[in-house]
Symmetry: none
Subunit: 215 residues, 4 copies
DNA sequence: GATGAATGAGCTTTCATTCAT
DNA sequence: TATGAATGAAAGCTCATTCAT
């Protein structure tokens, strides 16, 4: 009377790391595209090399998978920022590099912008559960502070500048270009995603920042 | 255990407009809080003065209700902006008024910011179906252009300024403060929603804009 | 992209009480047969006049349904016991009536015995959540005490008898005959469910009780 | 996030018997606690010194393990009963010893009582598959018959007593105290597991039996 | 013998929507 | 117009079991 469950085998590769990162990649796309509640576990599983069962095996539940996606994003962002190596450039050049990198990074990785939006819709409930995220990200503020200090010493940047405030300004200008693209297109018939428009906006943003920081 | 059939309605006021706006208010909160797929029709109906049936009666389906919510938002935003009456103020004063209004409006109506985020997650699919939205919103660009023209004439604003670009800058800076509040708090331990922080940021944003536009 | 869910109709009777009690009947059988975790919601739904969805509509979840089943059992047991009307019979006759009723009731309603076993396996976690059960059941102890008091006054029952203790004895003897039937059959090749065996046991149990209570 | 492959085994003692009895101990607890369908193979494996594979290696499947648990219980019960050595005691003393042993054994080994309940829920389907159980257990009936015969000869026990019937009475009274503990607690606010209550009940049960058997 | 990774079937639950009254 | 009852489809998740090493 107790139904025996006999799994049929299909024989697949046994590389946990590969399996996990494959799942995360697919999940990133789905969560970025549809949000947390809009995402479908089945759809993620389908596009994966593995079965749905493995999502649960490795990540516990849908939310656990979502959290893993968030973490993986922040880790990648940090690596990219670190690679910029701002400390060895002249203050203004470093700042410009940071602005342009930030702009380009957001434009290129739209799905990440979307993920951050999704997470804000959820009031940051899930990032808050990733303990490793804070230290990862505050390094960017250190870089910012370093640029300002050196710039002030050399007389090319205003000494009153605040690192967090300046970073917020840059982030806001770059993020918005991607985040609000669709409503802006609908409302103003202006496509911020168009590459020509984007190029102009990139220059414009540097202009805004430059005029704000210079002495 | 047997639920006796006791009508829960307190007011049987058959006022369609009242009923509809009540539904929209409740729905706005729900959609802003949970997004389109996270929102629950049952939850909306529960918090309404009416029954679930009415919700379908007036708005067709969940998406129709969501669209109605979006439209209602844009209409209210327009009214508020119109009330500013920028044309009769000196260019710089008008610009500052607009910046501060935009900042305050977003801060005060966080649920609207969230709604816009939700709509962008859905790639603007639903605003696009609201034909009346475009004309509603492009008036703000006209105001912007008017300020720039007058400012340039009076020599207080740079003539090269572009209306759309400038408005985007302002919108980005103000929107971001609300939209990315939660991830910033988790990542930088900085609460952009705190009123003291907000007051400082408000000044800072005007500073950014001012330095950008002045001659 | 948002899949519209359009229910197809089959047109069915609209009698909530009927629907609910139908579900409870079917569920009683399933839970008694397989226990809480062994029971299948699908199987219950299948044998019902309604759909699976209604189980959740009325009872919340599987456990809620199980609780409703338990409650319904205790309510029916109470009615039956009350119908005995022990107070108007002579003490010994009343006691014998109670013993025989208890024996017969357990024999006839084996599924209820099984339900009580299931609930004890779960350490009474679910009955504990049924607030109305205690008052329902303690009336039997009152009857018991009344019989003992009257019996002692009339000199036909020992005065030292304790109501709870005596009831436990009766319950134990009657319950066991049904509850442990299967292991006894396997171990002793004796079928306590056989009607001849049962008839003998019924007499025997009254004999045990009688010898215990008489002066 | 990457689980490094560190073997958790502390003792690699390849002692099959030891391994098997370890598994059975853990499984006994799980099956007694949750029943057959409520038990989780994963949970059992976790609490074992070995891996899940071994569990299948030695017992075939979940049901095989359950059967092994049942068998192990009946074997232990027989040893204990045999150790009582009732044949060399005076009839009444022997009977009392048996009653008190039975009571104490059930109280002490509640998990065994639960296991028997579980098995009865499953209608004895699994004990029935254990061929060795019948002979094991009928020895207790032989002892019973022996006591009655000797007691009747000596004029201290009623000659009409039936071994099976008497044993059933004793078993019922002792078993119930453990088996129905939780529902009784919920219903009558009486804890049959409390040691004071149990001591009183132990005396009471002997009283019941004694009055039943004496001449 | 021993272990982590993998599997498919099936389980409980939820959701937007519509019918009967 | 209004409302509780009802619905099918599908969503998230769990389970006993087996493979590769």
């Amino acid at each position: 009377m107790v139904a025996k469950r006999v799994p049929k085998r299909t024989s697949r590769a046994k590389d946990p790391e590969r399996t996990k990162s494959n799942i995360i990649d697919v999940a990133t796309a789905e969560f970025a595209e549809r949000g947390l509640s809009g995402a479908r576990v089945d759809r993620i599983a389908e596009r994966t090399q593995t079965s749905k069962r493995m999502l649960y095996y490795y990540f516990g539940d849908k939310e656990g998978l979502y959290r893993a996606v968030l973490l993986s994003y922040y880790e990648r962002l940090r690596s990219s920022e670190t690679a910029l190596d701002l400390t060895h450039q002249a203050p203004l050049a470093a700042l410009r590099a940071l602005v342009e990198f930030t702009f380009d990074y957001h434009m290129k990785h739209a799905s990440i912008v979307r993920l951050v939006m999704v997470e804000n819709i959820h009031k940051g409930r899930h990032v808050a559960k990733l303990p490793s995220v804070t230290p990862i990200n505050s390094t960017i503020l250190d870089s910012m502070a370093d640029i300002i200090r050196r710039g002030a010493e050399q007389g090319v940047l205003r000494a009153e500048l605040n690192a967090f405030d300046l970073y917020t300004t840059i982030a806001a200008l770059c993020f918005f270009n991607v985040s609000n693209r669709y409503t802006f297109r609908a409302i103003f018939r202006h496509d911020m995603g168009d590459s020509k428009e984007a190029a102009k906006r990139r220059i414009s943003i540097w202009d805004v920042v430059h005029r704000y920081v210079r002495t």
